[in-house]
Amino acid sequence: MNIVVAIKHIPSIADDLPVKGNNVDFDSVDFVLNEWDEHSIEQAVLIKEAVGGTVTVIGVDLIGELDNALHLALAKGADKVVKITADDPAADSHMQAKWLSEAIKGMGADMVFAGVQASNDLDGQIGPMIAAYLDMPYIGGVSSIEANGDSATVNKEFAGGAGAKYSVHMPFVAGVQSAPKPPRYAPVSKVRQMAQSATVEKVAPSGDASSGLAFKKMAPPVVTGHAEMIEGSSKEVAAKIVELLKSKGLA
């Protein structure tokens, strides 16, 4: 089983997000791994542990600091890591999807996983676009994948808590929303060991694509009002809420 996991480095929101011009101030922000990618790595490693195979993790190196995330992936059980040396922190999803598919093309993947979306742009399109470029089917909103022979049983979630079980023929691309188990913890000693011993394969970005969208302005949200906390017993609170709704003509 040959699984390729595409990961995305995104600006951390642990700090206040610094804005410069019409975009994020990339020089004064830390980059972290997209949360959903932790799930797709976990899903890939779980399949490998169940049926064997190799897991390759690949990402676009936007600011020259992707190695940390790749070493982390190795410590969690990935076998091979690849970075696309782009050095362009503003590269959008379309651009990244193009570069990724060019690099993945020759890998002979049975399955390609991407996080279902990334919390920087909430675009959710890298997975579908890779599928389009590689001419593979795409299934998104995935909460578990089990490989059996040349097909996989995939659980996909729908709005309203509904879910469906699909049988998907390989090769395919999946947008992983969550792994069946919480992503495992990689002890720092293992990550550091990987940093010392592992090699990160480098690939030059190839191809061009664009969403056709351009940033006009970026600004921190303006605080317009505050939440009002209603005090009192649950009965009193309920009564006040009803009153409020009525006064606004909503009930």
Binding site: S12, A14, D15, D16, D30, V32, K181, P182, R184, Y185, P187, V188, S189, K190, V191, R192
Partner: protein
């Protein structure tokens, strides 16, 4: 006295017993030697002598259970005396005509006075031993003291569950009663000429049973024949502690309490490769394999364990008892394969492993120098390496610590934000020299509930003219609790980050607000080259007041207060006096809770517990502590405001919460000592300053 046949039988028995005993101890020593190398011990003969003295005066058992300890002390002296008595009895059996009754009248040139004294001591001691051992048997089997049992959710070796310990106790108890009783009878039967005033109990028995030649033989055999069976048995029972406790105490941890053993031995045996921490029993340091043999199985550690109180499946004594039974099954029994089973299946459940607050109470109270807590940390270390699924809250904390250097998922740059809001500049110690480098810690830097106190510390330092600075975004979590959660690699990474930051700074000493940081900076950073003078802010404040740099303007006699010793300041580092001295200077009415200083009760937050995502049901240690404080204050209306004083940012969070959850708002308030100092000193506050006292 004995016939030739009897003598031959006795000597054969004695040799066999010696053989079995020797074999028993050889098995034990071989097993201990299979443990990993332990941190180097200095001056072993000296420590052994000190331990022997401690054992002789039974010093270590008096840390808890005073009455039972006194009885144990008597039992101990009785058994020591009995070693001599037994020797004399053997001589009476083997040497014809050697008999000590009536001051040894039949012996030529007998030192009558000495013999009479010996007889009196032996006789009275026998009586005492019978009483003492009966007390212990009554405690276990009739009163059924709860302290000797385990919670149902605690993992126990099946043999322990089936009552193995009780059987051990009964065997030895019955032995002592038979042995001592028979010895008294054998002396009583010798009294052919009526009462001997120096043998009151034997004389009394003689008045009932009379003298008898056959009786002497039978009683002698019961008394000493038994010994030949019981001595080899001891090495296979929990009573190995007779021999192993003193040795264990002599070879106990010498490093500071606050310094954990490394995850991999520093000194490795040639050709051996070690994974971090412990999976199986021989992954433990040999000193801690020995703990199992030294364990008295007294459960004193369980009594003081906050996790056990909180109904978690953790019992430090069960850990040691299970280790002992595992070793017994594997080395004396026929199950050597059990040695390869994970400790999490044989001695402590995974849930129990993750319930420990690393409060050190178990280690502190143990009369024989055992370190169950150190085993737990070693087991955590290996579980992490082996990819065991850990609590999601702990995992989030660790991941944040690895990326942000704090456990609160806050950006590094936000660490010094509170300082930038101050009405005076707070120096950046990595940019300009300061005398005091204030290591603020995560909770005090980021937690909105605690920041007002952090600012108050800054104001008081400033007002006292202290030349201080903080490291802003260069400070990382000290790693104290990271290490205790078992994440040794992350701990090392944090140490490296902080050492790099210290390298940029110029300072004379470090002052901390957080006892946890205080502990690792003081006791563990030296191993990484960081030998600094480290002070807790209570010491720094006391000094400022004593030197007159801060003056107390208002005495706070309207407060009645009690003080909670944080584990990592008190029990770990002996920081008991500075906070109490401060409170005295502030003029508050001070009352001490029953569990104070060394015996302080953990708030339940340490060792990573504060990160746990899942909160277990049941009364939490912090809630129990608030109730303890209220009981200490006493019932009835109190004209004074009752305060629960803390000196640890985590405590501020834990106890404020506990006051709410126990419904005691209005009766007791939690305050950091800094708030009282500020009130007494009269801090020059800016107009818009936080209403800290509110």
């Amino acid at each position: 006295m004995l016939t030739t046949i009897e003598k031959i039988i006795f000597i054969v028995l004695a040799i066999t017993a010696a053989g079995f005993t020797f074999h028993g101890f050889k098995v034990i020593i071989d097993s201990i030697r299979k443990g990993r190398p332990a941190p180097e011990l200095k001056d072993v003969p000296g420590s052994l002598v000190k331990a022997a003295i401690a054992v002789l005066f039974q010093q270590t058992i008096f840390k808890a259970r005073k009455v039972l300890s006194a009885i144990h002390m008597g039992l101990f002296f009785g058994l020591i005396t009995y070693a001599v008595v037994n020797l004399v009895d053997v001589l009476e059996g083997l040497v014809p005509g050697f008999e000590l009754v009536y001051g040894g009248v039949h012996l030529p040139n007998a030192p009558t006075g000495l013999i009479n004294a010996f007889n009196l001591i032996a006789d009275v001691m026998s009586g005492f031993l019978l009483i003492a051992i009966t007390t212990f048997l009554v405690r276990r089997f009739i009163v059924k003291d709860k302290a000797l049992t385990f919670r149902d959710n605690v993992l126990l070796n099946p043999k322990v569950k089936a009552g193995g310990q009780a059987r051990d106790s009964l065997t030895v108890g019955v032995f002592v009663i038979m042995h001592v009783g028979a010895r008294l009878m054998s002396q009583a039967f010798r009294l052919t000429e009526g009462a001997d005033p120096f043998m009151p109990i034997a004389s009394f028995l003689n008045s009932i049973f009379g003298a008898s030649e056959t009786g002497v033989h039978v009683a002698w055999w019961i008394s000493l024949g038994w010994v030949m069976f019981i001595i080899p048995y001891l090495s296979r029972s929990k009573h190995t502690h007779f021999f192993m406790s003193p040795v264990n105490l002599g070879l106990a941890k010498q490093n500071p309490r606050g310094q954990l053993d490394p995850a991999i031995p520093l000194k490795v045996i040639e050709g051996q490769k070690y994974d971090p921490g412990a999976k199986v029993i021989y992954d433990l340091a040999w000193t801690r394999v020995m703990d199992a043999y030294a364990c008295v199985q007294c459960n004193r550690c369980q009594d003081v364990c906050p996790a056990n109180f909180y109904q978690r499946p953790l019992s430090p004594s069960a850990l040691e008892v299970n280790k002992r039974y595992l070793l017994k099954e594997a080395t004396f029994g026929s199950h050597p394969e059990k040695l390869l089973l994970p400790l999490t299946e044989t001695v402590i459940s995974p849930e129990a492993v993750w319930s420990c607050t690393t409060c050190y109470a178990c280690v502190r109270v143990c009369p024989v120098g055992n370190e169950p807590m150190a085993d737990i940390v070693d087991i955590r270390r290996r579980m992490l390496i082996d990819g065991y699924e850990i609590d999601s809250g702990v995992q989030n904390a660790l991941q944040s610590l690895a990326t942000n250097g704090n456990w609160m998922s806050k950006g590094k740059r936000l660490r010094g934000r509170w300082a930038k809001e101050m009405e005076f500049p707070v120096k950046n110690a990595t940019e300009e020299p300061v005398e005091h480098l204030w290591f603020v810690g995560d909770t005090a830097s980021f937690d909105e509930r605690v920041i007002p106190n952090t600012k108050m510390v800054a104001r008081l330092f400033n007002q006292g003219g202290l030349d201080f600075g903080i490291m802003y975004q260069n400070e990382s979590n000290s790693g104290n609790d990271v290490r205790r959660v078992g994440e040794e690699g992350l701990f090392e990474q944090l140490v490296e980050q902080n050492m790099a930051a210290f390298g940029k700074a110029q300072f004379k000493q470090i002052v901390t607000t957080d006892p946890h940081s205080f502990n690792t900076l003081k006791n563990e950073y030296p191993q990484f080259g960081g030998t600094f003078e480290v002070k807790h802010y209570t010491v720094t404040l006391l000094k400022l007041i004593e030197e007159g740099k801060l003056t107390i303007k208002n005495k706070l006699s309207n407060y009645k207060v009690t003080f909670h010793d944080p584990c990592y300041l008190g029990r770990y580092n002996g920081g008991f006096t500075a906070p109490r001295k401060l409170l005295e200077l502030l003029g508050v009415e001070f009352v001490e809770m029953p569990r104070n200083c060394e015996n302080s009760f953990c708030c339940g937050a340490g060792g990573g517990q504060i990160w746990m995502g899942k909160v277990a049901p049941g009364e939490r240690p912090a809630e129990n502590r608030i109730k303890e404080a209220l009981t200490t204050f006493g019932e009835g209306a109190n004209a004074k405001t009752q305060l629960f004083i803390v000196t640890c940012p985590k405590d501020m969070v834990m106890y404020s919460d506990a006051v709410k959850t126990t419904g005691n708002e209005g009766k007791i308030e939690v305050r950091d000592i800094i708030q009282l100092v500020a009130e007494a000193v009269g801090v020059e506050m800016p107009l818009e300053a936080e209403a800290v006292a509110a």
